[in-house]
Symmetry: D4
Subunit: 168 residues, 8 copies
Amino acid sequence: MKPVVSIIMGSTSDLPIMEKAAKLLDEFEIAFEINALSAHRTPTEVESFAHNAKGRGIKVIIAAAGMAAHLPGVIAAMTPLPVIGVPINSTIGGIDALLAIVQMPPGIPVATVGINGALNAAILAVQIMSLGDEAMAARLEEYKKGLAKKIVKANEELAQVKYKFKTN
Amino acid sequence: MKPVVSIIMGSTSDLPIMEKAAKLLDEFEIAFEINALSAHRTPTEVESFAHNAKGRGIKVIIAAAGMAAHLPGVIAAMTPLPVIGVPINSTIGGIDALLAIVQMPPGIPVATVGINGALNAAILAVQIMSLGDEAMAARLEEYKKGLAKKIVKANEELAQVKYKFKTN
Amino acid sequence: MKPVVSIIMGSTSDLPIMEKAAKLLDEFEIAFEINALSAHRTPTEVESFAHNAKGRGIKVIIAAAGMAAHLPGVIAAMTPLPVIGVPINSTIGGIDALLAIVQMPPGIPVATVGINGALNAAILAVQIMSLGDEAMAARLEEYKKGLAKKIVKANEELAQVKYKFKTN
Amino acid sequence: MKPVVSIIMGSTSDLPIMEKAAKLLDEFEIAFEINALSAHRTPTEVESFAHNAKGRGIKVIIAAAGMAAHLPGVIAAMTPLPVIGVPINSTIGGIDALLAIVQMPPGIPVATVGINGALNAAILAVQIMSLGDEAMAARLEEYKKGLAKKIVKANEELAQVKYKFKTN
Amino acid sequence: MKPVVSIIMGSTSDLPIMEKAAKLLDEFEIAFEINALSAHRTPTEVESFAHNAKGRGIKVIIAAAGMAAHLPGVIAAMTPLPVIGVPINSTIGGIDALLAIVQMPPGIPVATVGINGALNAAILAVQIMSLGDEAMAARLEEYKKGLAKKIVKANEELAQVKYKFKTN
Amino acid sequence: MKPVVSIIMGSTSDLPIMEKAAKLLDEFEIAFEINALSAHRTPTEVESFAHNAKGRGIKVIIAAAGMAAHLPGVIAAMTPLPVIGVPINSTIGGIDALLAIVQMPPGIPVATVGINGALNAAILAVQIMSLGDEAMAARLEEYKKGLAKKIVKANEELAQVKYKFKTN
Amino acid sequence: MKPVVSIIMGSTSDLPIMEKAAKLLDEFEIAFEINALSAHRTPTEVESFAHNAKGRGIKVIIAAAGMAAHLPGVIAAMTPLPVIGVPINSTIGGIDALLAIVQMPPGIPVATVGINGALNAAILAVQIMSLGDEAMAARLEEYKKGLAKKIVKANEELAQVKYKFKTN
Amino acid sequence: MKPVVSIIMGSTSDLPIMEKAAKLLDEFEIAFEINALSAHRTPTEVESFAHNAKGRGIKVIIAAAGMAAHLPGVIAAMTPLPVIGVPINSTIGGIDALLAIVQMPPGIPVATVGINGALNAAILAVQIMSLGDEAMAARLEEYKKGLAKKIVKANEELAQVKYKFKTN
């Protein structure tokens, strides 16, 4: 299957975080690819990647980066595809990466999710692709219902907690 | 024409910022609507809006909010459509709104752009809709080339600046 | 006993923090309930909860949330009851949750306590309910005197510490 | 009429902000008093005020302070009444006052509202007092409906804005 | 020996940090006392302490506090003695305590040292008392020379490190 | 009269802020000097100043600096006298100067006051010198009483404000 | 004269700040060029610029950028020349640009100066080029002496200020 | 070999971070020295070091410091050589050190790298010295190519990761 989502990250050390995006896409049976690319170490490869992504059939790019996180913005500058940026927490809580990704200048947006928000990046990719794919849209609705079930389960756990207290 | 993008904001005081989104969509001849909605003052209308948006043909929602900015996230919780959040700068530089929009919990992403980033929100909406619309995609490519022209013009202005200095 | 305070939280992972609120209410023999609710995953349940709370006899709601913490504000928008918000520290020290809870727009206050301040949320609930309950007010005065006793005990410990130093 | 809400502030320079609290209470026909008190300049008066407030019939105290804002916390330490803290923005965006008010130690809560949030402080006071006053509770419900009307009016204004754009 | 420096803290949990102040004073053979006092839990004791400190022969007060750290400022308001404030790091890196101590309003200074800066608080106390005590001033000069010796020792360690590298 | 307090600042642009320190010292009839010195532009003069200050009869140094504010710390490193640091707000609200002054390493304290807190720096200098000067101590007590009078005056102003409201 | 320093910026709106760099270089009779380039709008031109700069005789690049400031880092990734980054203050005090420039990943440094620090960027460029140019080094020493003269002038102004006060 | 780069730090506790700079210089066969110096504890040695560095043949100084990090700026004030500042993370994530190093006043730049960015400091030193040394410049180009190889290796690792997912 040809990938339609491309997950890129600066190093394999980001993989434990970005795997959550991969798993969600896998759960939705969306073909994806994972690659390492660095805006600073492999600028030529980044350029080549960005220029070719649409032609290769990629629809959404998920780019993770930490510190002075340039990767999502640099790619967004070179592709018409929507780019989802995932700020990675490294030394100062991820605020550096968040600001370096979200505060893009007029003309070149990056769709930014929360710090280490790999799962949400994948869900956002699904939401975007669901606009042209009713089957995927239906699956997304199912997924959202599943989120509510976690709350039901939480309430069952809390119900037992309450017996510890004397007044209830 | 039936709107496909819905711009919502908490009050008309956000309009001077959000007009940039409206103008960009207008430039792309994308039908849109602008409405005021408040997660806190009109929760019932927000719910009704969010539940009906997809059925009414809306494809992307752009939601602007300041301070403890809940509007984008609250809507994202009740629609399968992609929601683009625009943090509005009110009292402390917009950092409150940025964090209140971007730091969404797992399961409910908001595609966040920069503080007061209304133009980028609209471009992101165009990028998303272009995935299923080659004519729009072509127009987007044109638009991006136009951004580069601003730099050419800037260089012409700078060329004249340089004559002020003796060493050049 | 019908609960008069309702403690809500987004997931059971907040329970170790929120138990301090439960214990304090228990100590004051105030009937309370604990439930999991999510502004984003179970918006319908949140709405139903908020609309019915007052009718069910609830007097004060304590709502805990982390990250882009919308739960306290969303509930405050749909109930006339006072809502006490507890920002939970997740990734960036809890500043995101604090701002997302306290910076509410004009018209919809949330009575915000400190980061992870579950105990103080419960004491604030007691203070509010004591306005109409002299017995509870008397118990609260006792509790405050107890706080001072901890300082007395601390001084006893410090008295022993001082013997370690040669000049005293 | 004997005041039931006491608004205190460090200096008359805070009055333009705190007047919003006064006006809201006035609109609700709730008797209130406004006084200047300083945790640092008039500690004896603060102590006397805090110890006597309940006995004088005060039910809720609204305390505004900027910078290293100690007034709300110092009063909360000496009264069983609920104290609502309003952080005032002075030099660094009000973050100093917000943290100095909200981050109270275990045992002494201050119900903190947003930076310069005088109106919300007054509404919170009304919510608290409404627990024991059905007439006030009814008026509060009316007030909340009024908030929604502002959104209706905003939409009327926005409806006219939209005619500026060609595609709608 | 009658104490001339008074170290106060909110709880014995601050002792591991504040012991550095005690040790330095001990090293200088300056009589001191350590007590627990809380601006919020024992306001009456704080007032009594502050009013009597000068009369008891105390010359400098060192007050440590975390979170919404009111203790140093509250004491400074009630004594003519210089008060040195030590912000204690609790949940958000100590920035809350730093701002709550240093940003005092005009008229009531607190001499603030760095976060967890107990040692520096004690040295500052020595510097202040040395103004009227030439013997103590001489000892202080000795102490400062000792600081430079640590650098000499560090250089000896570094000298050995350098042999690890091939080019030197 | 030989100066006993030395006010230093990096440039005359800090004078409008630092004049408040000068006026307070003048009011207390304390002889002082004001000089410009720069840790970075005139390091030799700074060193000479710091080494000679005590010998010239200076008792307290007040050093103001903005941005990467090194002046107070650099002087503190070269004198046994207490150095009071005043962070000056330049571009980012003064947080840079505050941290660069207060976060001194172990061994070299700077007694830091609030951002732009020139008046408090002078009062702190008076408090320190009052330890050895009962006449000055008495004057300081008078000054503190004067602070309370401002609150009395504020209350008179507020008394008139209250007539604007119908319920009082 | 062939330029040896290249000043680049994202738009002509940065010129009022960056002119200070141009003026300093002009004062040192160092040939320079000023151009507009955007990491996001003209990525191809940026790449071509970065790859050719050394070959054209450029020795140091000064790159200014605001918000999610990628320009300095992107250029640094594609040239062996030292790149000096100047963070420009736009919406949130320039902290976003500072972090997006300075927090570069291992392998690709940007020599960052302070927010809006154009003058210092130019001086740093002179310091770097002076390593291989003794005449320039001599001129730099002269310039540094000039900085000290400003302090002398400031002291003359302050000398007059002091006459306003009675005690001196 | 006479050292051309001088690495200085405040204490040996910074060595684990600064060793990365030493190793890189070693790899480039650049002679360097490592010393401990403290702006605050050994001001005379700092002055002597700064005044003599150029004469001893040093070309670039790398200065690491934490907290109120004055060392790089103080040295920069006393030498015409370029000074590279490395902010060291101590208590609050290194933001204090970053601001205390980068926000230098006009006239005295410090070339600041990221928090704990010792490796980048060394690379920047190499870039600066390469301007006058073509052999070193060639080696630097090789080094940069090596960075790209890490990405190639990362992709090989990621290729294996992808087999974990069912859709690829």
